[in-house]
């Protein structure tokens, strides 16, 4: 299968994260997060650098929205842009999801979540953006795209004590595990579908790329 080089016109970028968490004292606020998000946005939109069309960017950084609303916004953006780009003759090929902020683990299974602006200290599972939920959304609507997830997460100090290997490794392992599980499930679904309908020839591989990075915001 020939690999098509990514172009700005065929790439989508979703920017997530937060710089302040008014409902949670556990997460330290910092303007460094906002500056980082601004830098990412500037790089991708600069015509001399990446040159991404502004309409291909969904900026949800510091958005005052619940996890559910964020999920809806991402779904609508993907649906609308994928349709438009196909109509324009520039079918989307790549999706970048960039998260800047805090991450953490919740519950007995230590599920990995991303702390959004609306994340509450008393119920992080309900108010935070669950990685599994995000992966489901991407699998649902962008399974034919090459997906790159970049996580610039800062973990609470307590998380280091909870895990021997450090939170970054755990977050990476957990997210990767979620993706693999989803891949297997979708693979079996596709096999079932193949019995009834021919698979499109130009179907691209379902692939994920992920960078997980714990950071100290004050150093940015």
């Amino acid at each position: 299968m020939d690999v098509k080089t990514p172009t700005p016109q065929t790439t989508l970028l979703i920017l997530l994260g937060a710089s302040v968490w008014p409902l949670s004292s556990e997460f330290q606020s910092s303007q460094a997060f906002a500056k980082a998000a601004q830098g990412v946005k500037g790089y991708f939109l600069n015509p001399r650098l990446f040159g991404l069309p502004a309409k291909n960017l969904l900026d949800l950084f510091d958005a005052d929205m619940s996890a559910d609303n964020l999920d809806v916004a991402i779904g609508e953006f993907l649906q609308q842009r994928l349709k438009s780009m196909k109509a324009e003759g520039n079918s989307a090929r790549d999706l970048l999801l960039y998260f800047i902020g805090h991450g953490g683990f919740v519950g007995r299974d230590s599920d990995f979540f991303l702390a959004i602006r609306r994340t509450r200290e008393d119920n992080k599972r309900a108010s935070g953006l669950q990685m599994l939920s995000l992966v489901d959304r991407l699998d649902e609507q962008a399974n034919h795209l090459r997906r790159v997830i970049i996580l610039d997460c800062c973990f609470a100090a307590a998380a280091y004590a909870a895990f021997q290997g450090g939170p970054a490794e755990v977050a990476l392992a957990k997210t990767a595990n979620m993706l693999k599980v989803n891949q297997k499930m979708r693979g079996s679904q596709q096999k079932e579908q193949r019995c009834s309908a021919p698979l499109a020839k130009d179907l691209r591989p379902d692939s994920y790329q992920m960078v997980v990075q714990p950071c100290s915001p004050e150093l940015f």
């Binding site: 299968m1 990514p6 790159v148 993706l179 692939s207 997980v212």
Partner: protein
């Protein structure tokens, strides 16, 4: 911290020969930036699903360092060439000095050393596309520049000044009705002067090109407009005398010779003006030539001749003498055997 290093990596790129960077390249460059910070966490790249290939290997981000590297290499290559040329010139000069010293020792003189003149011509730098058309002519003329100019001057002087004085048949030409073609003679001397100017000018100066070119164009056009070197009326209409018919063919021959000479002046003049003039200058020259052509057509000597024919009652015998003496003779004797 990571995002800053990540963006630094993307905006600065690497000096590798890759036009685009994949995610692993970016991660490595970002780590280069981060590693200088104490206790900086190391970024991790993982591709959970590689069943259809590794996304981390796809060249995703443009590499700004590639263009910088390309420019740097090009500059390096240019410096190397310049140094080579410099060394070559030094070596040549050294050899010449050695040879001169040897000649001095052998008593054959030659104290001063004059390096052989190299034909440094801007046409050597022409691109392959420009080497067509004008470029080919330029290349040929620049290689044989001296010979070409000497031929041009000899041709101008011989055909324009010398030959018309010897034979009134093949090279018969008059200017403004005068039997002695002063304009053509002055023109040929002027063209020779321009030729000398170009021959001895070492540098190609735009001012010189335009001045010389306009002079040649002016000379050519004046001669085109004011010369009376053809009597084709005789050739077409005067069949009563074999002598006249035969004589008239000489005039036709003369027409072609001088037509070629004046065209050559016009061609060379236009070529030099257009070489150095800008678009406005070129257009101006073209407009002047067109206006001159119109004036020549309606007000030139041909028109005067036609008017004289119309005034002449002897239109049934359209043979026309071409000199003032012949005209006087024809009018006094009432015969077309004059001339």
């Amino acid at each position: 911290m990571f995002t800053r290093a990540f963006l630094d990596a993307l905006t600065q790129g690497t000096s590798s020969q890759k036009a685009r960077l994949n995610l692993r390249d970016v991660k490595d460059v970002a780590w280069d930036f981060l590693s200088s910070i104490p206790d900086a966490p190391r970024p991790v790249v993982d591709s959970p699903d590689q069943s259809e290939g590794d996304v981390a290997e796809i060249p995703f981000f443009p590499n700004p360092g590639f263009e910088k590297e390309r420019i740097r290499l090009a500059e390096k290559e240019q410096r190397r060439r310049l140094e080579e040329q410099f060394h070559y010139a030094e070596e040549t000069q050294r050899r010449q000095l050695e040879e001169a010293e040897k000649r001095q020792q052998l008593g054959r003189g030659g104290a001063s050393v004059v390096p052989p003149e190299k034909e440094t011509d801007s046409f050597d730098l022409l691109s392959p596309q420009k080497a067509q058309g004008w470029g080919k002519i330029d290349t040929f003329l620049s290689k044989r520049r001296r010979v070409a100019w000497i031929c041009f001057m000899l041709l101008s002087l011989t055909v324009g000044s010398v030959l018309p004085g010897f034979d009134r048949g093949f090279f018969s030409i008059s200017n403004l009705g005068m039997s002695t073609p002063y304009l053509t003679i002055i023109g040929s001397v002027g063209a020779t002067g321009v030729g000398l100017l170009f021959l001895f000018s070492k540098d190609k100066r735009p001012f010189l090109d335009i001045l010389g070119g306009i002079s040649l164009c002016g000379i050519a056009f004046t001669n085109f407009a004011l010369s009376h070197y053809i009597s084709y009326y005789r050739a077409y209409f005067n069949y009563d005398s074999y002598y006249n018919y035969h004589y008239a063919s000489f005039y036709i021959f003369a027409f072609f010779i001088f037509f070629v000479l004046f065209s050559l002046w016009l061609f060379v003049g236009t070529r030099f003006v257009l070489r150095s003039a800008n678009i406005v200058g070129g257009l101006l020259l073209g407009v002047l030539l067109i206006i001159g052509g119109i004036i020549r057509n309606y007000l030139g000597p041909l028109r005067f001749t036609q008017m004289r024919e119309e005034e002449d009652d002897r239109t049934e015998s359209p043979a026309k003498p071409t000199t003032e003496e012949a005209l006087v003779c024809a009018r006094w004797t009432n015969s077309h055997e004059c001339g």
